[in-house]
């Protein structure tokens, strides 16, 4: 269950962060989008028992967070809030896969536990990277870069409309829900008929609003095509450097397992 106004505040907070200024904020949104997608693909491409080899990938979100001056605690909280789903699916692994895979001292760890940890680790990494991307770029810039990266225009246009009116309708629904809860004293959730009329009314108002917006657009010369000013600069050296640098790093992390090498080296040295 989600809290409507809390969620909207949360989203608008990410936009506030995205309005900040740092070298990372100033990068071309496309560069950040591409690197983040490459990052996610690299992270999820490991086999299910991988743990230590995933560690180096932590570098990417950590750099984004610290150099982009994103409050780390805020992101951590967000990640923990959404973690239950990954836990729910992964939690069966220890029950099913009980073969002991690793021994650390006297303790043995079954493959199930290892893969559960691996799932959680992947989850944290991918979520942190996606959130950091938004907090550094902002949703509208992500939309714009989707467009320049070849997503069809109708999709991107209605995506940005959706984002815009999410706040308007969210607040509207929140107000109606509050008005309802102020008059329902037992605090129970609404019944189905009530829900039908509640969201039905909201829907009718929404349709009227769509009509008014359409008129407002027509009044300013809308002809089926939503124009946009190109704010994006042409890719400059820093953007290219950012993309190439990270791609090389991800490649190294993926195929050369620096953490494993480091561990082997260290344990070897101690021995």
């Amino acid at each position: 269950m989600r809290n409507l106004s809390g969620n909207l505040l949360d989203i608008s907070y990410l936009d506030t962060l995205a309005a900040g200024d740092s070298p990372l904020h100033r990068l071309d949104p496309r560069a950040k989008l591409i690197v983040t997608i490459a990052f996610i693909i690299a992270v999820v491409s490991f086999d299910r028992y991988t743990i230590s080899a995933l560690m180096p990938f932590g570098l990417y979100p950590v750099v984004l967070i610290s150099a982009g001056r994103i409050p780390a605690m805020y992101l951590l909280k967000k990640i923990f809030l959404v973690a239950p789903f990954a836990v729910m699916v992964g939690i069966f692994n220890p029950l099913i896969d009980t073969t002991v895979l690793y021994h650390i001292g006297p303790w043995g760890f079954s493959g199930g536990w290892v893969s559960l940890v691996s799932i959680l680790l992947r989850f944290c990494l991918t979520v942190a990277a996606a959130l950091a991307l938004l907090a550094l770029t902002g949703f509208n810039a992500v939309c714009e870069s989707l467009l320049t990266l070849g997503m069809p225009r109708p999709f991107v246009v209605q995506l940005s409309f959706f984002y815009r009116y999410m706040f308007v309708l969210g607040e509207e629904a929140g107000r109606v829900a509050r008005a309802r809860s102020l008059r329902s004293f037992d605090g129970r959730a609404m019944g189905l008929t009530e829900f039908g009329s509640f969201s039905g009314h909201l829907l009718l108002r929404t349709l009227d609003r769509a009509e008014r917006i359409y008129r407002a657009m027509c009044c300013r010369g809308f002809d089926g095509h939503v124009p946009a000013l190109r704010r994006m600069r042409k890719g400059v050296y820093t953007d290219v450097f950012f993309v190439l640098g990270w791609l090389v790093l991800f490649f190294i992390f993926r195929y050369y397992d620096p953490a494993g090498k480091l561990g082997a080296f260290m344990t070897g040295v101690w021995r």
């Binding site: 608008s12 509208n140 815009r164 917006i213 124009p227």
Partner: protein, 264 residues
């Protein structure tokens, strides 16, 4: 369109659900006039405004803007001439940022990017919203939203400015800023409003609508003095024209309301 005339000739309009919106409305507004459109809730003000730029087309009767009668073929040029500020700025601000929103109309008109940028900046400065350019509309206060909504229309430099309830839900200072801004617009203005004080300040002429018909059309001062007419249309004399109880002891004793703000 040299003269910016707005003419309504016996407009009738009925909504699909059978509600009568307009039942024979006629008037003529000449260049540079500033006209208030008043009437009770549901009198047909918004419906009438929608007809002035072809958002709605009359069932019978016609609308003339400048030299031409409005028809589906000349909608584009009419909409270029008639700038419409909607009642709810959330309906009008649909683009991701304030800047994009003001640029929307300009780019549709075929302005080059540089021109569009310049005009956006000018329009935003005019309404005192230059600092809001990069902000998403949902992060603005209602007063800021309204200012930006006006800028979206202002930027296209319309010949005729049509506004629906521009002063609704504004705080007093934003309201007087709005009035000052509108006073600088020298072309034709048509303002639908319940804010009769603003109407008295801005408009020399007033049209009263009642149940889809024009019940009065004349000098603002004359219309607002006609108490019977105002009562019929669920209106009240603007505070500025009422005897102020604070100034007049006699009025204070007689008046059912002991206090209200000064309007003069």
């Amino acid at each position: 369109m040299s003269h910016h005339i707005v003419q309504a000739l016996d407009i009738h309009y009925t909504y699909p659900d059978g509600t009568v919106g307009l039942a024979g409305v006629s008037f003529s507004i000449s260049h540079g006039e500033s006209v208030a459109l008043v009437g009770e809730n549901g009198a047909g003000k918004s419906t009438l405004l929608q007809h002035l730029n072809g958002c709605l087309l009359p069932e019978s009767g016609s609308v003339r803007i400048g030299d031409s009668f409005l028809n589906p073929k000349n909608l584009a040029s009419v909409r270029r001439a008639v700038g419409m500020v909607f009642q709810n700025p959330d309906d009008q601000l649909f683009m991701p940022t304030v800047f994009d929103d003001v640029a929307f109309g300009l780019l549709n008109l075929g302005f080059t990017e540089d021109d569009a940028r310049r005009r956006v900046a000018e329009a935003l400065e005019t309404v005192g919203a230059g600092h809001l350019a990069g902000r998403p509309p949902y992060k603005l206060s209602i007063g800021e939203k309204r200012a930006v909504a006006i800028a979206t229309v202002w930027a296209m430099s319309p010949d005729i400015l049509v506004m629906d309830e521009p002063s609704a839900s504004l705080d007093p200072r934003s309201r007087s800023r709005l009035i000052a801004l509108l006073q600088t617009f020298k072309h034709t203005k048509i303002i639908a409003t319940h804010d009769l004080d603003m109407a008295a300040q801005l408009c020399e002429r007033t049209i009263v609508l009642h149940q889809g018909k024009v019940t009065a059309d004349g000098q603002t001062v004359d219309v607002f003095r006609n108490e019977e007419l105002l009562h019929l249309s669920s209106l009240e004399k603007p505070l500025g024209m009422q005897n102020c109880p604070v100034c007049t002891t006699a009025a204070l004793l007689k008046s059912p309301r002991s206090h209200h703000p000064h309007g003069h």
